[in-house]
Amino acid sequence: MIEKLFKFHGGVHPPEHKAESAATPIRPVPMPARLVLPLRQHIGNVAKVKVAVGDHVLKGQQLAAPEGMISAAVHAPTSGTVVAIDEQLIPHVSGLPDLCITLQADGEDRWIEREPLDYEDMEKTAVIEALRQAGVVGLGGATFPTHVKLRADPRHPVKTLILNGAECEPFITCDDRLMRERADEIIRGLQIMAYLLDAECCLVGIEDNKPEAAQAMRTACARSAVPVEVVLVPTLYPGGGAKQLIKVLTGWEVPSGKLPSEIGVQCFNVATAYAVHRFIDHGEPVISRIVTVTGKVARPGNFEVPLGMAIETLVQAAGGAAPDIDGFIMGGPMMGFKLPSPRVPVVKATNCIIAASPDLFPPQPLPMPCIRCARCADVCPANLQPQELYWFAKSQNFEKARDYHLFDCIECGCCSYVCPSHIPLVQYYRYAKSEIIALDRAKQAANLARERNQLRLARIEREKQERQARHAQKAMGAKTDTAADEAKKAIIAAAIERAKAQKAAVTPQNTDHLPPEAQAEIARIEARRSQAMEQQKE
């Protein structure tokens, strides 16, 4: 029983705008004729394509397999034909295209064989592997592969399992509606997760501006066998951030740069629990999600949307957008981003689409210089000093920015929200972060290059010595072989042998110890080369 809630530093109360979309039940949308499925819908390695253009696939069939541990599969949301595997615009803040599978629906919507998983009779690792193949990722927006978080780690046993139903961002109500309408299914998913992790305590954190959802969840808990406590937490942005919610519920802070599991906590979004339930109990992989469509649309609300559906089609389902909109925001207004085009598809991260207009989000006045009023520091949930970070990012003093814990910034936007000088602070942090990451990568590459250069120089030096030794031997051979010379010769020969042995041992085989990508590339090149040889022979 939670007796006392804790507080995190800072936080803001932006206008909620949740009423517009929370009132109506989740609606289905008609299956579109064409679906675009990006291979990068999650954090981690890009999924590996398993189908070819022209293949006919069934609903729920795996189109791309996870590559390595931190990766997630992609499935067909309906039955149809793969018509293209190419680069298309994706809902990414960069506005750059990425590899996607395009599916032409056949209208039959025919499922693959679906079988519930008898998870309690299986090895847990097998269940985890099944989840990996099912493409379950964090559906709160972070899209971290869920199976990774569900692996029980003996070093860090997870005692407390937290379901995140806080949904603190303005406008978004998809979790709210899901909890109101499908509370039993969520609790069922939670039960499976608790089983996999051996969790002792299950908590559901819901912000107190969603009393109906909390009530529904409480009722569902009462019906279920698992001991779950539904806790109302104060409405305060960004109380739905995983680290913030953990702090509010348990009082523990996830150490910087560590995972929650290292302090015995694991936190999932309610929609993720729902997805786990759909897969385990019904054999359905992640092929759809609940999306809030709100802002300047005729009938705002929540929709159950197949992944890959174009945003503009979805907006049509919500009655179409007002004529004065100037773009669509994916995610909330605090942390979301403006979509590069209304034609990009819905992906696993798409929790909300806001049709934005200037009167909804008034344009920012021109930024003034920072007056160091420290309001940003007062509202920062990470207790950073945003004004200092801004100063360092602006003057490109990245080392200093890192020293001031730039990477503990969760980019929640509270600082920009309160800034009287209207400085886009978060943008400066994002810029500084990506510069630092790029610099680190460059540094790694430089270290590799230095190592390889040194190896090469050492090899050249050895070869030179070897040549000299050979010359010395020749010179020796010309002389009369006295006993002394014999002895010398023996020594030299031994030295040469040693050098040779050494060379054989250390000569850099520049194909060895390469990362897997490079190995793969070499293999590809070899293949190409032999092909070319064949052609030449012909």
Binding site: P363, M368, L384
Partner: protein, 341 residues
């Protein structure tokens, strides 16, 4: 056009709104000032405001920066008003102009204008005037109720612009050393505290007249606290440290050290506590840093007032602590979420 990246929402606030509230909070102080010392201060305020805006505009133009946003932000007016309020109300016009010019041009614009000045511009202007023109800076008029002769606004204008007094009056008739100055001189002459305080210029709390103005500043300060323009840290640390030192020494030797209330309600202590030391640009940003900063000003003010060469140490105390701000900030970083301290 919509903002380039999130967040797309923002609170209704701006730099000029903050500055407007600071100016508003100064109004009770100005009213009390007029009531106590006469309307000459309004002339100083006007002079300072015009000088500040004109010099700011010229500097912005020279630096190729946009005029409108920076003239409208109100920061130059705040500097001008604070400086004018720190000067003697019948200060000659050139004193006001030179001080304001120095504050705006050297202390503010040479560092890049709003947000970049490491020193409080008003206090830089004040310190420069105090060192350069000590006589003009210490000719303080007696409060109206104590003055031997009352000057009309016209007389004051004549004096401010032409140093011309109505016939029959001497400078001494309308002005005198400030109470803090008198206290220092008298103590040097080995007079007892009780005797000195019996003089009519000393009031019940601090100095006659001055205490009313100080009270009005306190009122304005409370408004700023309520509006969350300033935080409590600096005023409380400053006034608390000043009162602590004063009462400590007053308890040890009441005959040589003035009491805490006198220190709090005389000189520029209140103005400094709520309006000068709380300047965000030249002050520290961390809560702990603000406490150190305020306490430092308190200590230095008391030390300079008690042993130093200048009657009031507020301006120097603020500037000295301004020097320490980057270091204070660097060493008072609060614990970041998920970090051990």
């Amino acid at each position: 056009m919509m903002a380039m990246a999130s967040p797309y929402l923002s609170e209704q606030t701006s730099v000029s709104m903050i500055m407007r509230k600071v100016l508003l909070a100064l109004v009770p102080g100005i009213a009390a000032y007029v009531w106590v010392y006469g309307s000459g201060i309004l002339v100083s305020l006007l002079l300072a405001s015009v000088t500040a805006l004109v010099s700011e505009a010229v500097m912005l133009k020279l630096r190729g920066r946009p005029l409108r946003p920076f003239l409208l932000d109100g920061s130059a007016l705040v500097t001008a008003w604070l400086l004018a309020l720190a000067l003697p109300p019948i200060a000659p016009w050139w004193l006001v102009v030179v001080g304001t010019l120095f504050a705006i041009v050297v202390a503010k614009q040479l560092y890049g204008g709003l947000g970049y000045n490491p020193f409080n511009p008003a206090m830089v202007g004040y310190a420069v005037l105090l060192i350069s023109f000590p006589v003009a800076m210490t000719q303080w008029p007696a409060p109206l109720e104590l003055a031997q002769a009352k000057l009309s606004l016209l007389d004051q204008l004549r004096y401010i612009f032409g140093r011309v007094l109505p016939s029959g009056l001497t400078v001494d008739a309308i002005s005198s050393a400030t109470p803090l100055d008198t206290l220092k001189t008298q103590l040097k002459l080995h007079h007892g505290m009780a005797d000195i305080m019996a003089a009519p210029m000393f009031g019940t709390l601090g100095t006659k007249g001055g205490e009313i103005v100080a009270g009005a500043y306190l009122l304005g300060g409370v408004y700023l606290l309520w509006q969350r323009i300033i935080t409590w840290h600096v005023p409380v640390a400053f006034l608390g440290m000043l009162a602590l030192l004063a009462s400590g020494c007053h308890l040890i030797d009441a005959d040589r050290y003035a009491g805490p209330l006198f220190h709090l309600f005389s000189g520029a202590a209140m103005l400094c506590a709520f309006f000068i030391a709380t300047d965000p640009v030249s002050g520290p940003t961390t809560p702990k840093g603000k406490l150190i900063f305020g306490a430092g000003i308190g200590i230095l003010t008391w030390v300079i007032r008690t042993w130093g060469g200048y009657p009031d140490g507020v301006a120097f105390a603020v500037l000295l602590m301004n020097i320490c701000v980057p270091l204070i900030d660097a060493y008072t970083q609060p614990r970041v979420f998920g970090h051990e301290k």
